[in-house]
């Protein structure tokens, strides 16, 4: 394992979801220390917070509630980076309740953390296969500091059937049947629909950008 580069406190929120280990290993490969935790104080005191997630929004929100982390996460002021479902949990709501949610039934809407004012909807893939699974290119990339060194046309690994539509909070887009948000951000909250921890060298670059980000860089945006 590489040497430890900083003394900043990085945490991965233990949402009870399954990809915690791969996110932790990705951070450690860059030479940073990181703790997986659901301890309220550790999360509040961290310099950087990563919110990972795979699976369904319903399941993950239930876990977050059971751990009394809803208001803790909502009140964080340090930079927070969500991956995949972690990004989706930052929005107002998701229609990804359970398997039957493909029926477009509003009764299946799951309230999320409401940190970025947008809503997660089924990906409009047209005639394409779902889940949207594999390596796809970014079709637009903003100058947000999380994307330093990343350009349009770069490939990232996506696995999802739900997505955030394009909005004023979109900081990168991707196309699969229709254009959707590959990443969204508001203030200190940043979310990527793709999996940086599984996106080879460019994914590592995004994690590194986040860990090296000065919080004031986000204030200026």
């Amino acid at each position: 394992m590489a040497e430890i580069k900083t003394v900043t406190k990085n945490v991965i929120v233990d949402t009870g979801c399954a990809n915690l280990a791969s996110v932790k290993f990705a951070v450690e490969r860059l030479g940073y220390k990181v703790t997986i935790t659901d301890d309220i104080e550790l999360i509040q005191q961290a310099d950087k917070v990563i919110l990972p997630g795979v699976g369904s929004a319903k399941h993950a929100m239930a876990n977050i509630k059971a751990k009394n982390l809803v208001t803790v996460l909502q009140n964080l002021t340090q930079p927070v980076l969500g991956f995949c479902l972690g990004m989706q949990l930052m929005t107002e709501s998701s229609t990804e309740g359970n398997k039957s949610s493909t029926a477009d039934n509003n009764a299946n809407t799951v309230p999320c953390l409401n940190l970025i004012p947008t809503k997660i909807e089924p990906l409009k893939a047209q005639d394409k296969r779902l889940p949207h699974m594999g390596w796809n290119t970014l079709t637009q990339v903003s100058d947000h500091p999380i994307f330093n060194g990343i350009t349009t046309g770069d490939y990232f690994y996506f696995v999802h059937s739900f997505a955030a539509p394009i909005s004023e909070y979109t900081i990168a887009s991707c196309e699969y049947g229709s254009t959707f948000s590959a990443a969204i951000a508001k203030d200190n909250f940043i979310g990527c629909q793709f999996h940086p921890e599984r996106s080879s060298a460019l994914g590592s670059k995004i994690i590194q950008n986040f860990l090296e980000l000065e919080p004031q860089e986000l204030v200026k945006l």
Binding site: L20, A21, F25, R29, L130, P131, G134, S161
Partner: protein, 262 residues
């Protein structure tokens, strides 16, 4: 644009990568972690690890290598073998695998697919289908039939399912991806079974991965172009250095197939 995936498959037995011909006579190829790392660095889009003995032995796969792989590679990987329950799946996913693949346990208990998809999400539930073309079947008209316990020659047996019926069934139960292993082609490097994969494609609404038969770079371009599969899996051509992933991707790009650069 979504890239077609090139997926080296590592058959694992007792922590070593092995390869047999038509599911038999396994020879040791090498240690699992350095091979995984080598393929990730070479430009593989994803890796699949099959513990080929697990299901047929009725024992649980030795899983310690899953964590060791997750530590070193930065591309997605899938683990198959002996996953029979939500608890088994959770353990593998918690160790850092991105997907789990089930095969024989899904045949014994199809509802397992739904239970796994509900808990972990459809995207990480892959169903592997071992399909054999029996030319005598169906009154001599020939039929694609699903087999189980293919890791052990002595226990390998035909199921009551035809391949395309089974694919439709597992997709309706919540499978997020199908890997279709065409057993007649496995390990003989004569090309993927284009006809079978085309028919599978027609009934498969989720990502479909071709497996069995890769021998040349043209076999890859043929299967992407003619059967519209999302990914192609291969073992021996990569393990034995017959095809380098970098060369393969350069070739595929020349054929105007969308691939991620190495």
């Amino acid at each position: 644009m979504l890239a077609r995936r090139v997926i080296p498959c590592l058959d694992v037995r007792d922590g070593k990568v092995v390869k047999g011909v038509q599911f038999r006579n396994h020879e040791i190829i090498g240690d699992i972690v350095p091979l995984a790392q080598k393929y990730a660095e070479a430009g593989a889009d994803e890796l699949v690890f099959y513990d080929i003995t697990a299901s047929s032995d009725g024992r649980v796969v030795d899983k310690s290598w899953v964590t060791r792989i997750a530590e070193v590679i930065d591309i997605p990987f899938c683990v198959a073998g002996g996953i029979k329950s939500e608890a088994d799946a959770k353990e593998i996913l918690m160790m850092g695998a991105d997907k789990i693949s089930i095969n024989s346990p899904a045949l014994r208990d199809p509802e397992l697919i739904t239970r796994l998809a509900d808990v972990f999400g459809q995207q990480c539930i892959v169903v592997g289908v071992d399909s054999f073309y029996n030319k005598e079947a169906n009154n001599g008209k020939g039929e694609y039939q699903v087999y189980q316990f293919t890791g052990d020659e002595k226990r390998t047996q035909k199921t009551g399912w035809t391949t395309f019926d089974w694919i439709e069934r597992v997709v309706s139960l919540g499978a997020g991806e199908i890997v279709l292993n065409c057993m007649n082609q496995d390990g003989v490097r004569q090309g993927y079974d284009i006809e079978q994969l085309k028919q599978a494609r027609a009934v498969c609404k989720v990502p479909l991965i071709a497996s069995g038969g890769a021998g040349t770079m043209k076999h890859f371009s043929d299967i992407y172009q003619q059967a519209d599969v999302d990914g192609a899996l291969a073992a021996s051509v990569f393990h034995k250095g017959v095809i380098a992933i970098k060369d393969l991707k350069t070739y595929l790009k020349e054929q105007r197939i969308e691939v991620r650069p190495c």
